[in-house]
Structure formats: structure tokens, C-alpha cells
Symmetry: none
Subunit: 353 residues, 2 copies
Amino acid sequence: MPSLDLHTDVVTLTRALVDVESVSGNERTLADAVEAALSGLPHLQTGRFGNTVVARTSLSRAERVVVAGHLDTVPEAGNLPSRLVDDRIYGLGACDMKGGVAVALRLAATITEPVRDVTYVFYDCEEIEAEKNGLGRLARTRPEELTADFAVLMEPSSAQVEGGCQGTLRAEIVLPGKRAHSARAWMGANAIHAAAPVLTRLAEYKPRQVPVDGLVYREGLNAVGITGGVAGNVIPDECRVTVNYRFAPDRSEAEAFAHVQETFAGYVVELRDSAPAAAPGLDRPSAAAFVEALGVQPHPKFGWTDVARFAELGVPAVNYGPGESALAHTRDEYVEVAELHSCEDRMGAWLRG
Amino acid sequence: MPSLDLHTDVVTLTRALVDVESVSGNERTLADAVEAALSGLPHLQTGRFGNTVVARTSLSRAERVVVAGHLDTVPEAGNLPSRLVDDRIYGLGACDMKGGVAVALRLAATITEPVRDVTYVFYDCEEIEAEKNGLGRLARTRPEELTADFAVLMEPSSAQVEGGCQGTLRAEIVLPGKRAHSARAWMGANAIHAAAPVLTRLAEYKPRQVPVDGLVYREGLNAVGITGGVAGNVIPDECRVTVNYRFAPDRSEAEAFAHVQETFAGYVVELRDSAPAAAPGLDRPSAAAFVEALGVQPHPKFGWTDVARFAELGVPAVNYGPGESALAHTRDEYVEVAELHSCEDRMGAWLRG
């Protein structure tokens, strides 16, 4: 098991985290290392739930906050190990979100007497199907672990405070056809050709821009997958287009699915999974206090984040972390060294009071 | 080794051939049995080339014809052994093309003094990659074995004469894009959406119907596969559409590819594989004599067959055999007993003069 030194600087720690590959489903080694590092700290109580690690202070403060980050990454793309170039750390997960995890681990290790009690949560399976999400599992099975007045998810946000998040929904549009030998195509019906109007509708789709609590959310409806084909000499009898709808916090999951069904009226549309949006909640006192302490202007969050899981538990939550969200899931993702330091300093100041 | 009695009736012989499993690559046992049966006939000279068996008369006739069939079948589908139900023989390869092989073996055994010299060819690996095809191998390595004035391929054609065959070509149309997180789709470019005009063009494509030597060939251009997508939350940076173009004998392989490129002008089109068409050649005297002797109206052949290999050697060739081509490669393929007898009688009359 690799050993993590939480008392080294945040740059070295970020690189060490990147260098322990932890693609979704393969987080055990990193979770073991994180658990071992936190278990050695006397001011924290550490718990383990699958590949999710929770560590908490118990100082009987008036307020408790959660600081959370996911351990997993999207699949490797020839971007390991980490590289430090021009004050940027490159490598798989550097941006999304091992930089944020490094900041949280540094806070956990170095701030032994925070003015607010803190629950640190490091969880698995954020980048894949919603039902596997480690934070969601904890919320279902051990919601008391997440009880708090406020939560900060350290997702990449360019060290800006991002309120709420858009919902996300995946559905499959199923195009039927009839098999035939391709030398006698007129005996069959081509399911791939039948996808033409579906793709045209997607290409021409105009996404909404929706103001909620003063922040403007920008939606999107996109094909994220397509499959069809039986053999090189067979007219295919099925084609499936997987679409992903990112929706603003003014729509529920059911309303979002109804919109997708309406957009593809006349087609078979099968719901695959969905996760709700979360309103920004910046009107709640604890959220406002955090924004004020950091002295930054809040922005809307487009990507779905686990902020919505806290919203479902009644805990106001924001995204705040190092790394540019537009770089997440790209081959060349990186995190700025300056942002790592800035996030650690500001969060530290907030927790130290 | 199973023993084949070529002096039994064609129905019993067809069932015996079906019952010797000979899925492509596994033809040795059947080739051994065919070779042994033919070697015992004094009026034939028999040769063996891999799992291809050739037997020829040498009567110094003015004309030589080839009668050919493949020994292999597509994979088993719970359709062995053979069954005789309602005057149909069911079982793997019954239609494609052990019925035709049985007729050819019967002719070889019983017609000791044909008015035309005959070269019988029983070959392997017709149902798989073109480069393994036993007839193609013979054409490349021992073309003199196939020298003839005319050839009859006993592929299933419902006992109709099918002239020539269409060519076939596979190509991939590659749509580029730019990856981005699907929550920020405007940062990327969706390669699946980019396939919309390609599929529309395919759906609206009007295939040609081309008269060649009096037969009308019906072309087709179809998607036979589509793939695209990186992950459920990523704007895909590539989508590939595989198309199969079945083209009439008035076009060469190069012309066919040029047509596909022109149809998808502005797109990257990558050639995967192709096989040439063959003109019917019914204007050639030996072909015309065959058609006249059988007293049937010739039809165009849509599917690609090894007729094209003879065309490349300058030998006019037709498909003529028992079994319905639409049943080929189906679990429930069968051949009509009546067609077996009819094919044997007509071919026999032609060879006896």
C-alpha cells in the first residue's frame, strides 16, 4: 500500500494522490492509503464504509460542517503519472478532483482545533452510475454521518463558490428495424438509418438558460453514446442512442424526463438513470456565512455534483475547490499550484475562525 | 472417417453431407470423405489442395466446364443432425450449400461420359474472411485447375440461373468532435450529432437499378454499424458509421469506392474491404447454351458469390443450385427434395447432351 504523508506540502500530496490510480471501481488502494493516513491523527475519529472514508472532529462546537471529495477518476488516457510543468500539476484526476482531496486532507491533518466541528468525507464511484456513488450510499445507509449545518464539496470550481447544481438524466432512444442480408436491403428496415431524425433533433436542439435565485443555469441535451449493427453484411434491427440531459434546478427529475420524452415524441425513450438538481440555497444563513468568509462572488454550477445529495438531506451545500471545471475529464487536465495554495489558505482561515 | 455412397439417391446423400459437421475451418473430415469417394471412380482424376478437392474428366471434349460448391457452413445453431420433414431436408448447411454439393457429387459419380469435360471443385472456407477462401486460393496458386469455358456455382438459387453477382464494399465514415464534460457541452463538439447528416443521406439514398447484359441489378448502400461515445457524461470526440455498398457489375471496386466518397463528400471515408462484381456474361456462347439447355429464365444475383472469382479468371459463371438463398445462414434453413431432383435431372441432361 502506498503511504501518504499529510504533513508534506499540498503540491507533493496532490501528485502522490494522482500517482495512485483510482479509476471508478478501483479505489480500494487509495481508500486504504487515505484511511491509514487519517487513522494516525489523534484529533480525528475515522470510519470506513466500503471504499468511503469518514473522519470527524468531536469538539462539541455549535456548528458542524462537512468537507467532502471523491477519490475516483474517469478512465486513464495516457495521462499517468503526474507531471509538474509551469506551476501546473498534470495527470489523471489532477483537476477532478485530487487537488481538492489534497486540500481537504491537508485541512484534516493540520487544523486540530477548528472553530466548527468538521466531518471529512472521501468517497468512491462518483464518476459512474449514480446508484454506485459512495456519498449516495452513505446518505441512504448512514445519513447521520452526513448531518451538518453546511457542506463544502471540493469539486473543481476555479476556487470560486458555485451554488446548487444542475440535474442530470440519461435515457436511451431505441430505434427498431428488421434484419435482412445487406445484399437484399429492401427485405429489411435499417434501424441505424432510423436514427437520422433523432440525431438531427439533437443537433438542432436549443438548450434553455434559466435564472434561479439570481444565478443563471445553462442546460444541455446531448448524445453521449450510440450503438447499432449486427454484422458487416446484415441490415441492423436495432440502434440505441444514449442521451444525457443536464437540467436547471427549476425542474424535477420527473419533469426533466417528461421534457426528453416530449423532445423525442414518437420514439421509444427508456430512462436509464437520473439525479436531481439542487437550487443554489445561498439564501440560507450558513451558506451566506461561508461565501462572506471567503469574500468571493458565487456562480451557478452546471455540472451535476453531489451537492444535490446534501440538498436532499436538507444540508445547504456549495462547490468550492481548485481546478477549472472545463478541464475535468480531459486528457490534459491539470490544477494550478497557486489555486491549491489559495484554497488551502482560505478554507483554513474559515475553519480556524 | 465417414464414408459417402455417391450411388445412393441425392436425398440420402444430402443428409449424409449435412451430418458431417464442416463449419468453416473444420472441413478436413468432410474433404477426406469426398476425396475418398471420388478417388474410387475410374473415370475421374482426383487432386487435393488443402481441404479443397478437385476431380476432372479427361475425354478431350471440345469444351470444359467447372461445377463447383463449397464444403463449409456457418456456425452450428442447434440444427444438427439433419431431419427430413414434409419433403424438406432441414439442418446446418442443407440449403447453403450441401444440397448443391450432393447434386454435384451425384453428377460426378454417375455421368461417366459427359459431352463436355467437367472439372468438379469442392472447396473450403467460403463463409469466412475472403482471404481464406479455398476457391480464391486455388485461383491464385493453381489457376490452371480452373481453366474452363464456363462455370456453374451450385449456390442456393431456388433452381434458377443467376447471372453474375454484385460487388460489395465496406467503408467507415469517421466523424470528428471535441471532448468536453456533458454539463458544459458548449466547450466541446459532439461527434455523434455530426453523424446526423450522414445518416440522413443514407436514409434518403436512392439506390440504382442497373441493367447489365439484360439483367437488372438492384444496388444498396446501408449503414451496417455505428459506434460512438466515451462515457455517460462526456461529449464524444469520435463517431464511426460503417457502410456496406452492394454495387452492380458496371462498376469496378475503385469506381464503387469513388461513389461512396462522392456520396459522403466532405467527410473522412476509410475503405475497409471490398470484392468485385461480376458481369452475367450471358452473351458468351457457353453460358447461353447452359441457360438454353435448362430452359429457365436467368435472374440477376444480388449477393456476392464466388462467381466473381471465375470472372477474374475470364471464365463466365452463373449460380444455379437447389435451396432458397433467403434461407441461407438461418437456423431453420432447409432444401426442398423436389429441387434436389430437379437440379440433378437438368444438370444431368445438360452434361449428357
